[in-house]
């Protein structure tokens, strides 16, 4: 028997495929959130981090491809399972009540759809950068003079848009909800939800999902309430702060000039 057959052709195998891809994606969103939380530090921190990721080159593409494949498999198997499940009862009941299934578990498909739509938009917004016109994607210079994408400003700009912020909150909320069922399910499907710790697992997963949501929401709230501000003078239209000697300039023109010089040097 070959492993692909097990994972994609058997009922339990498919659930394991869901669990494993789910686990990878769960790891990814946790990593992503930790990255995002750097926004509370000096802008250079998150900008440097983003630059580091971008500069991985081919390795970045390997990671991206891996994630895309994971998402595709997760969705593909989910679709397959859904069709099979529908076929398993061609004529439904006239009346059927829910006994103990959680809301999260019953709306996995819908939370999944919304999250997928969000991911697509998110990629278009921040990775492909086509959704908001050139003004939304500023550059900045790190302390060592490297010119980098100003992710810090991109994020704050995004969250200052109330519509975007609301959509973001909804999507992240649904993702947390999706994880609420997904996390425990994941352990069940790979056979690790055992009696000694199943209740503990249940609670931990709730706490995890709440924390995940709060972590994301904190950034949005902070951005909206002005706790985190844009510090890129190019974007903000003023110098970041007095006596800043990063680029030696205290006005906008000087910054632009410095950036241009840096670009020339790089090329």
């Amino acid at each position: 028997m070959n492993i692909l057959h097990v994972l994609f052709k058997t009922s339990i195998g498919k659930k394991v495929a869901m669990a494993v891809t789910g686990f990878i994606l769960f790891g990814f969103v946790i990593g992503h959130l930790s990255g995002n939380l750097q926004i509370f530090a000096h802008p250079d921190k998150i900008n440097g981090y983003a630059h580091l990721l971008e500069s991985l080159g081919p390795a970045l593409w390997v990671i991206r491809l891996f994630l895309i494949v994971t998402v595709v498999v997760h969705i593909w198997v989910a679709v397959q399972l859904t069709f099979e499940n529908r076929a398993a009862r061609p004529d439904g009941y006239q009346k059927q009540i829910t006994l103990r299934a959680t809301l999260a578990s019953r709306y996995m498909r819908w939370s999944g759809f919304v999250v997928l739509a969000f991911i697509v938009y998110h990629i278009l917004h921040f990775t492909v950068r086509v959704t908001h016109g050139p003004g939304a994607y500023p550059m900045t210079v790190l302390a060592d003079g490297t010119v980098v994408r100003d992710v810090h400003s991109m994020m704050v700009l995004g969250f200052q848009n109330p519509l975007l912020a609301t959509c973001y909150l909804i999507s992240v909320g649904l993702l947390s909800w999706h994880l609420r069922h997904g996390l425990v399910s994941m352990f069940q499907s790979i056979g690790l939800r055992t009696r000694p710790w199943s209740r503990f697992l249940e609670r931990v997963s709730v706490i995890f999902c709440v924390l995940y949501f709060l972590g994301n929401a904190l950034i949005v709230v902070a951005a909206m309430t002005g706790q985190i501000r844009i510090q890129n003078p190019l974007v903000a239209g003023y110098a970041c702060r007095d006596a800043c000697d990063v680029c030696g300039a205290i006005n906008t023109e000087a910054i632009v000039e410095n950036v241009d010089v840096a670009k020339d040097n790089q090329s």
């Binding site: 195998g13 069940q188 056979g191």
Partner: protein, 254 residues
């Protein structure tokens, strides 16, 4: 007490079914639900109509024959009982009760409220046994089994094979049945030699029968007349993946 019934009537699996309305009058609240149907059937017979076909046998909750979806829940509103142990006092005077058969692709309808659950037998035939020749068994006390394991195996073995798990599951999955049956034997030392083939074959048979997939909502466990725990899923999944990986690498003892 009086109740109104909306009962699914279907001549056989090849014809369309539909609801018929009946009234059951002057009922004693201490009647069982099936006894109420008996009374309705007696009246139908007296009127010259075809009585409602419904499955029953032991009427004490152990044979697993009875199988009605009552007001949207397998076996009726109470927890941990079979249809035959549902009593009319669980309903209110004047209630309208919807009665449907257990429905799933793997459980074709025979007639009215009777479904064919042969798929369960097929799963059992695929691996729900320990291969031991009659007369070839060692002394019963030769294999000590801890009380905790024996009790857990008994928890799984309590399954009456009624199919409520499949009926309650939104996906018509048979995971509770299969995990309980395989779990019982896989927990015990007697079941170890065939552990891997057992799960592989039983799951293959389950898939072949056209049951849906588990989405870990555990409606099955809540509807189970013996309240068998969904914890056995985890064991089945684990045993299944272990067996698959072992087969993949053709693992042998050496």
């Amino acid at each position: 007490m009086n109740v109104k019934l909306r009962v699914w009537r279907q001549k056989n699996n090849d014809t369309e079914g539909g609801f018929e309305n009946y009234e059951a009058k002057d009922l004693n609240p201490n009647m069982s639900f099936l006894e109420m149907l008996d009374v309705v059937n007696e009246n139908l017979t007296d009127d010259g109509s075809d009585p409602i076909a419904f499955a029953y046998d032991c009427r004490e909750g152990i044979c697993g024959t009875c199988s009605c979806m009552i007001d949207g829940k397998p076996h009726g509103p109470e927890t941990g009982v079979a249809t035959c142990q549902t009593y009319m006092r669980s309903f209110k005077d004047g209630d309208t009760i919807t009665v449907e058969p257990f429905k799933a692709k793997a459980f074709p309808i025979v007639k009215d409220l009777v479904t064919d659950r042969e798929a369960f037998d097929k799963i059992q035939q695929a691996g729900g046994f320990v291969s031991v020749r009659t007369g070839a068994a060692p002394d019963a006390n030769a294999i000590p089994i801890g009380k905790d394991i024996a009790d857990l195996a008994m928890d799984a073995a309590a399954c009456i094979g009624c199919g409520a798990c499949v009926a309650a599951c939104k996906n018509s999955s048979a995971m509770l049945f299969v995990s309980a049956k395989a779990g019982q034997l896989n927990l015990l030392p007697q079941g170890q030699p065939e552990k891997d083939t057992r799960v592989l074959n039983m799951v293959a048979s389950m898939d072949e029968a056209g049951f849906g997939n588990c989405t870990n909502q555990y409606e099955c466990s809540a509807a189970c007349p013996k309240l068998i725990s969904e914890e056995f899923f985890s064991k089945l999944n684990r045993d299944y993946m272990k067996a698959s990986v072992k087969t993949l690498f053709k693992a042998k003892a050496l």
